[in-house]
């Protein structure tokens, strides 16, 4: 019997495949394509304390094997989420993870408090490249990562996942700061900061000038970071960045990820997360693995 279960810092998932924040709305759209109960977990669009309109359009640019986005955390706010969006997701038998972003440490704490135990875990987004006020600023210095994690943890009634930015010199020291401050799990990577220019109009394609790079193009960077962080920390890791197939998911698990998230590729193949779950099963079957731990992190570095 195959067992795909995994424990993410206290959150039990029936399988390791979740959806990445911001690429999956609040689940409604993709629920028309398959039964959300099949998913390991749903991570919802990044929430802020108050509703946000986000940035001006254009908010997307395609790049080689990737895309830039500058949505800028458009969302209805944490209260509207609880009232109007969460009930729908609760109809499904899958954990819901709230991704939160704030302008101040206090805002993050308030949000954690408001969410209480109505969600199954909280993902701390300290790595959004698309908002001026906060986001990424919290995620690039060890002491501020430590500080925000430590503070939010006090208000957090559910497992706390800290989502790391790849736009740093040393991902390992950032990861260690989050772990030390009490993070139950880490997710990585958020988007790389990038830019594209339309040479005909001579304007940046994104109205916001810069945006976050995601998709297959970033996969080698993400796999490297997961590998480095997995060797250094003792908490579970949710790996993401460019996953488009079960082979990619297995690559992240071999690198040391306990679970994976599918982001950009949902746009290309709405059924991607489900096909990835099936693919992982076949891979395990073929290799006679019974549990994810039979191959998680098990690469033979030469």
């Amino acid at each position: 019997m195959l067992n795909l279960e995994v424990n993410i810092g206290g959150l039990r998932l029936k399988n390791p495949v979740m959806t990445a924040s911001g690429t999956y709305g609040f689940g409604k759209e993709y629920s028309e394509y398959y039964d959300l109960s099949q998913l390991g977990a749903v991570v919802v669009k990044g929430l802020t304390l108050k509703p946000r309109e986000g940035n001006k359009a254009p908010r997307i640019a395609e790049t080689p094997a990737g895309m830039l986005n500058s949505v800028g955390l458009q969302n209805p706010g944490v209260e509207a989420f609880l009232e109007h969006e969460l009930p729908f997701l609760r109809k499904y038998n899958t954990p819901v993870i709230a991704n939160i972003a704030g302008n101040t440490v206090e805002e993050y704490c308030q949000m954690a408090e408001k969410l209480g135990s109505q969600v199954d875990a909280i993902e701390l987004n300290i790595s959004c490249p698309n908002v001026k006020e906060g986001g990424v600023a919290f995620g690039t210095k060890c002491d501020s990562v430590y500080n925000i994690t430590k503070n939010v943890k006090q208000f957090c009634k559910v497992p706390l996942i800290v989502k790391l930015s790849p736009n740093v010199t040393d991902i390992v020291e950032i990861a260690l700061s989050a772990e030390e401050a009490g993070a139950d799990s880490l997710s990585l990577i958020n988007t790389l900061l990038g830019m594209a220019i339309d040479i005909n109009s001579r304007k940046p394609i994104l109205a916001n000038v810069v945006g976050g790079l995601s998709g297959p193009a970033v996969k080698p960077v993400a796999v490297r970071m997961v590998y480095q962080v997995a060797k250094a920390v003792n908490i579970p890791i949710i790996g993401m960045g460019g996953i488009s197939s079960w082979q990619d998911a297995v690559e992240f698990i071999l690198a040391g990820a306990d679970a994976v998230a599918v982001g950009t590729y949902n746009f290309v193949n709405p059924a991607a997360p489900i096909e990835i779950i099936e693919g992982i099963k076949k891979y395990m079957d073929k290799n006679c693995y019974k549990n994810l731990s039979d191959f998680k992190g098990k690469i033979q570095a030469c």
């Binding site: 690429t23 409604k28 359009a57 254009p58 997307i60 059924a271």
Partner: protein, 253 residues
């Protein structure tokens, strides 16, 4: 709903760098409304990565066939044009479509490739004229002639129909209409919206925003929509649109 791997029926050049493609899908043909779009994977593999949104041009419910018209703009549409046979991965029909309001005198006003989604609108209206503006080469005019009372055509170089912009024709007869449906370049649509506003004609426009998911999950296709109270907020071109009542749309973005 699902994305469907549809059999390609044809894919041919109907004007310079402009292609018509038809594919078979009973489900999509049955469900599709005028003004909705499909979201296409132009080839296999990761380059280009994202799907491309293209409006539905023709719906043949009896034979289960959907047709689109597209212009080669870049890598994605270029790849699409290379497809000769086989299958194509399609999500759709997506978006809201044009509201078909009967018992009114209507006009469809299209510019260039923006004429494509208007054919089904015209076909579904009993009293409709068409205003079709092109740069130099025209296409599908005869199809509109079948479904419309009058068809006005302009080209910028005057090679077919009137010389000039299609809005110049619309301006002449605008007072005849109750409702205008429009799709085309932003500058043209702005002009159409202005003409309708000045003449108190109801106007529906189909908006083009760059898209990611095409179904409302990623929020990249934001367009500014006015509220009753004068406020505005971002709505999703893919799911709340692409068709909006012209009164609601803030063009500044």
């Amino acid at each position: 709903m699902k994305n469907e791997i549809c059999e390609l029926i044809y894919n041919r050049e109907i004007a310079k760098s402009t292609f018509e493609m038809a594919f078979r899908s009973e489900n999509m043909a049955a469900a599709a409304l005028p003004g909705q779009f499909v979201h296409l994977k132009v080839n296999e593999g990761l380059y280009p990565l994202l799907r491309r949104p293209i409006s539905i041009h023709r719906i043949d419910k009896s034979s289960g066939v959907v047709a689109i018209i597209y212009h080669i703009m870049g890598q994605g549409t270029e790849e699409l044009s290379k497809k000769q046979s086989g299958y194509i991965d399609v999500m759709g029909p997506l978006g809201n479509g044009f509201p078909i309001i009967e018992g009114k005198k209507c006009a469809v006003v299209g510019g260039g490739i923006g004429t494509a989604p208007l054919l089904e609108v015209a076909k579904n209206l009993s009293d409709c004229d068409a205003y079709l503006g092109f740069r130099n080469c025209t296409y599908k005019v005869e199809e509109f002639e079948k479904s419309c009372n009058k068809v006005y055509v302009t080209t910028e170089d005057g090679s077919v129909g009137y010389k000039g912009y299609i809005t110049e024709q619309l301006e002449k007869y605008i007072s005849e209409y109750d409702i205008v449906y429009t799709c085309g370049p932003k500058v043209m649509m702005k002009k159409v919206v202005d003409i309708c506003a000045s003449n108190n004609v109801e106007c529906y426009i189909s908006i083009e925003e760059r898209m990611g998911c095409g179904i409302g999950a990623c929020l990249v296709c934001a367009c500014k929509i006015k509220e009753e109270n004068g406020d505005w907020h971002y709505k999703k071109a893919c799911k709340d649109g692409p068709v909006f009542n012209a009164k609601e749309v803030l063009f500044d973005a």
